[in-house]
C-alpha cells in the first residue's frame, strides 16, 4: 500500500508538472511566429524541411533588422502528422505561447484542424503545403484568417496532358494516385480528364495508400497492356518506389509526374528520361531562385526540396504582410495578406484568389536527364 501511495503522489506531481509551464507567455520584446510541422513521426523529414525553410526566412528578416522593430522568434509545435496532436499543438501555441501568426502544417489532415483553431481564435495561419480545399474553406465559407502558399494546381495535370499528347505524341497512359491526398488526386483527375479530351486513352487509373510500398500488383495490371506513359503525380519518395518497380517490371514507356518530383532525393536513375510539371526550374535564372538555392545549400548542405521552398515562401508571404500592415494585429495582417498581389516568391509570383489560394501562372515542364532537371517547355495555363 505504501508504494502505491508514493506512486500516486508521483503521478499527481507528474500530472501537475505541465501546469508549471503555464507561467510563460506575455513579453512582447519579440515577434512570435508559430510553426507547426511534423517534427516527429513518419513524415518528420517534411517537417524538418518546412522548419528549415521558415527558419531561413526568419533569419534573413532578422538580419535585415527584424520586423516592426522587433526580432522575430519561432515557436515550434509538433503535430506528429496526427490530427489530434495538431489540434493540441495549435491550441498550445495560441493559448500558452500567445502567438498571433502560424506557419503550418504539412499534411492537410493536420492543417485542417489547425486552421479551425486559428480561425476561431483570430490567428493568421498560412499552410505552406496543404492542398485540401477544406484548409481555407469550410462548407463553402471562407476561413478569413487562413491562407496557403502552395498552388492547388490541378492545371498542372492538364498541362502535362497537353505536353504529352502534343509534344510527345503519347496515346495511352496509366495513372496512379494517392487516395488520401487531394493534391495528388487533383492532379490525377485533371490529367485524366484533359488527356482523354485530347483523344488519349487512360488504360489504368488506380489509387493507392500512402503506406503502400509494393506496386507490383498495380504494375502488372499496367503491363497487361503497356501504355506509352505512366503518370504518378506524387512526392519523390513515392515516385522513387513506383519508378524503380516499374522498370523492374519491364515498363519501357515514359514516366511523368508533378512538382512533387522536384527534389534532390529523386531517384534520377530510375526516373531518367521522365518529365514533370513544376512552378519553376532549378536552373531558372531568376535571382530569387538562385539566391535561395545557394543560401540554403550553404546553411543545410543540401539542395532545398519543395517543402523547404514552400516553407520559406509561406514565411515570407506572412512576414511581408505583417510589414505591409505595419501592425501585429492579426485582423490587419490577414487583410494585408489577402491583398497580396504579384509577390515574388521562389516558387513563383503570388496573388491570392477569393479562397486564399495562390493564383496559378505558367507551368514549366522539366525533364530528368543524366542526374539533372532540364527545362524543356513553358506552358501558359488555359
Amino acid at each position: 500500500m505504501r508504494t502505491i501511495r508514493v506512486l500516486s503522489v508521483l503521478v499527481i506531481i507528474a500530472t501537475l508538472l505541465p501546469l508549471a509551464g503555464c507561467a510563460g507567455g506575455g513579453g512582447s520584446k519579440t515577434l512570435k511566429i508559430g510553426v507547426i510541422a511534423p517534427m516527429t513521426g513518419d513524415v518528420k523529414t517534411f517537417g524538418e524541411s518546412t522548419r528549415n525553410g521558415v527558419q531561413m526566412a526568419v533569419e534573413e528578416w532578422n538580419a535585415n533588422g527584424g520586423l516592426l522593430g522587433k526580432q522575430i522568434e519561432i515557436v515550434l509545435g509538433d503535430d506528429k502528422n496526427d490530427a489530434a496532436e495538431a489540434t493540441a499543438a495549435a491550441t498550445k501555441l495560441i493559448q500558452q505561447d500567445k502567438v498571433k501568426f502560424i506557419v503550418g502544417s504539412v499534411a492537410s489532415k493536420c492543417s485542417i484542424p489547425i486552421s479551425d483553431v486559428a480561425n476561431k481564435n483570430k490567428v493568421v495561419m498560412i499552410s505552406p503545403t496543404s492542398t485540401n480545399p477544406k484548409v481555407t474553406v469550410a462548407d463553402g465559407v471562407l476561413k478569413p484568417f487562413v491562407f496557403r502558399a502552395c498552388f492547388i494546381d490541378p492545371p498542372q495535370g492538364a498541362a502535362m496532358a497537353k505536353f504529352a499528347t502534343e509534344n510527345l505524341g503519347i496515346k495511352t497512359a496509366a495513372v496512379f494516385y494517392d487516395n488520401g491526398n487531394d493534391y495528388v488526386k487533383g492532379l490525377a483527375e485533371f490529367f485524366k480528364a484533359s488527356f482523354e479530351a485530347r483523344g488519349g486513352k487512360v488504360t489504368v487509373y488506380e489509387a493507392y495508400a500512402q503506406t503502400d510500398t509494393d506496386f507490383t500488383a498495380l504494375l502488372t495490371k499496367v503491363m497487361a497492356e503497356p501504355p506509352d506513359m505512366l503518370y504518378i503525380p506524387d512526392y519523390y519518395n513515392m515516385v522513387n518506389l513506383v519508378n524503380q518497380q516499374a522498370r523492374a517490371a519491364g515498363f519501357k514507356g515514359i514516366l511523368a509526374g508533378g512538382d512533387g518530383w522536384d527534389s534532390s532525393d529523386l531517384d534520377f536513375q530510375a526516373a531518367d528520361g521522365g518529365y514533370f510539371t513544376n512552378h519553376y526550374a532549378a536552373d531558372d535564372p531568376r535571382a530569387e531562385v538562385q539566391n535561395w538555392v545557394a543560401r540554403y545549400k550553404a546553411k543545410y548542405g543540401t539542395v532545398p526540396d519543395a517543402l523547404a521552398t514552400l516553407g520559406y515562401d509561406a514565411a515570407n508571404l506572412l512576414l511581408n504582410a505583417i510589414k505591409t500592415a505595419n501592425s501585429e494585429d492579426p485582423v490587419k495582417v490577414k487583410d494585408a495578406l489577402a491583398a497580396t498581389a504579384g509577390f515574388p516568391t521562389v516558387s513563383g509570383t503570388i496573388s491570392f484568389d477569393e479562397n486564399h489560394n495562390p493564383i496559378n501562372k505558367d507551368v514549366v515542364i522539366l525533364q530528368v536527364k543524366e542526374g539533372k532537371f532540364v527545362h524543356v517547355a513553358t506552358l501558359k495555363p488555359e
Binding site: 501511495r5 503521478v11 505541465p18 509551464g21 515550434l76 509545435g77 493540441a88 489532415k109 485542417i112
Partner: protein, 339 residues
C-alpha cells in the same frame, strides 16, 4: 488510506468540482489549451476503462479498441452534423455512437470471441485495420466523411468538458458497480480460468460478449466526445497503432484496476502534453524518444502496473461484515493445520 467520505458525499464534491472547472474554462480562467488537455484526459480514461472491462476484467486480449472509438466518433459526428449540437442532440449523438460501437461489437463478437488469447488479439487488430480501410473508403457511400481526406464540419457543443467529465464519472461508477457484483465476478473468473469458469456454471460466451459490447460502447462514447473535442476526424486517428494507447494505459495502471486506469490515463495525457510544454523547440523531436523510454522504464520497475489489481478505498464496496458464525455444523475439520 482511511478516507471516510460517504460515497454520495464524494460524488457531490466531484460534481461540484467538475462544474467549477467548466465554469473556469468558460470564463477563460483556464485557457482553451488546458481545457483541451483535461477533456482529452477524460476521453482517454473513458476509452481505457472500456478496454479495462474487456481485458482487465474478462481477460479478453482485444486490440481493436481504436476502431470502435472511430465508429463512435464518426457516428456521433454524422448525427450532430445533421441535427446540430444542442444538448439533447449531442446526447443523442453520444448515445448513438456508443450504441453503434456496441452493436458492431456484438455482431463481430459473435464469431470472433471464440478465439482465445493472442489469436483474439490479432483478429481484433485485423478488424481494426478493416474498419480503418472502410473509413478511408467511406466517402463512396457517405460523401461527408470525405474518406481518406478526413471529415470536417463538426461543430463544438457547449460545455464539452463538463459532458466528458460527467460521462467519465458515470463510466467509473458503472465499471465499479460491475466489478463488485455477481456478473463482475463471473467476468473475473473467465479471466482467471475460462474452462473452470465454464464448469462452475458461468455462461462464458454470454459474459464475454457482455464485457466486449460494454467495453466497446465505452470506446464509442469516448469516440463521440473525441469527435466533438477535436472537431476533425481522420481514419489514421483510429488506426491499429492507436489501439495500443488504451492498452498501455490499462496495463500501466494495473490490469483490472479501475483506479489504476484512471490514474494512468490521466498521467499518460499529462506526460505527452507535458513533454510538449517542457521541451524547447530544438529538442522537440525528442518527445517521442523520451516517451517510450519512460514506458519501458515504468514497465521494468513495475511490471504489474501502478496499482496491480487493487482499488482505491473509495471504489471498494463496503461489504457488511456478516457475523462470522456459519450456520452449518463444523464438527468435521478437514485438517488440523488451520483450526
Amino acid at each position: 488510506m482511511k478516507w471516510k467520505v460517504p460515497s454520495w458525499g464524494l460524488l457531490v464534491i466531484l460534481l461540484a468540482a467538475g462544474a467549477v472547472l467548466q465554469l473556469a474554462i468558460h470564463l477563460e480562467v483556464i485557457n482553451a489549451y488546458w481545457a483541451l488537455v483535461v477533456t482529452y484526459m477524460c476521453i482517454a480514461v473513458i476509452s481505457s476503462l472500456g478496454l479495462g472491462i474487456i481485458y482487465g476484467f474478462s481477460g479478453q486480449f482485444a486490440l481493436g479498441h481504436a476502431a470502435f472509438m472511430g465508429l463512435g466518433a464518426y457516428t456521433a459526428a454524422l448525427i450532430t452534423r445533421y441535427m446540430g449540437v444542442a444538448p439533447w442532440t449531442f446526447a443523442i449523438a453520444l448515445v448513438g455512437g456508443a450504441l453503434l460501437a456496441g452493436g458492431v461489437a456484438w455482431l463481430v463478437g459473435l464469431p470472433i470471441l471464440r478465439l482465445r488469447s493472442d489469436y483474439l488479439g490479432i483478429a481484433t487488430l485485423g478488424f481494426g485495420i478493416i474498419v480503418r480501410v472502410l473509413f478511408e473508403n467511406s466517402d463512396k457511400v457517405i460523401p461527408v466523411t470525405a474518406g481518406a481526406r478526413g471529415m470536417t464540419g463538426i461543430e463544438q457543443p457547449d460545455f464539452v468538458f463538463l459532458w466528458a467529465f460527467l460521462l467519465l464519472l458515470g463510466a467509473i461508477i458503472v465499471a465499479r458497480n460491475l466489478r463488485f457484483s455477481s456478473p463482475g465476478r463471473a467476468l473475473l473468473s473467465i479471466r482467471e480460468d475460462e474452462t473452470a469458469a465454464n464448469l462452475m456454471g458461468v455462461d462464458v460466451v454470454r459474459y464475454k460478449t457482455i464485457a466486449f459490447v460494454l467495453g466497446c460502447s465505452y470506446a464509442g462514447l469516448a469516440g463521440g466526445l473525441y469527435a466533438h473535442t477535436f472537431l476533425f476526424l481522420h481514419p489514421s486517428n483510429f488506426d491499429f497503432i492507436k489501439s495500443f494507447d488504451p492498452l498501455l494505459i490499462v496495463v500501466l495502471g494495473g490490469l483490472g484496476s479501475i483506479t489504476g486506469t484512471v490514474v494512468a490515463g490521466t498521467a499518460w495525457v499529462a506526460v505527452l502534453e507535458g513533454l510538449r510544454l517542457v521541451l524547447p523547440g530544438e529538442v522537440l523531436e525528442w518527445r517521442y524518444v523520451i516517451y517510450p523510454v519512460l514506458l519501458i522504464a515504468m514497465m521494468l520497475t513495475r511490471p504489474q502496473g501502478l496499482f496491480g489489481t487493487s482499488e482505491a478505498a473509495i471504489l471498494r464496496p463496503r461489504e457488511a461484515e456478516a457475523p462470522a458464525a456459519p450456520a452449518l455444523a463444523t464438527e468435521v475439520t478437514a485438517d488440523g493445520t488451520h483450526p
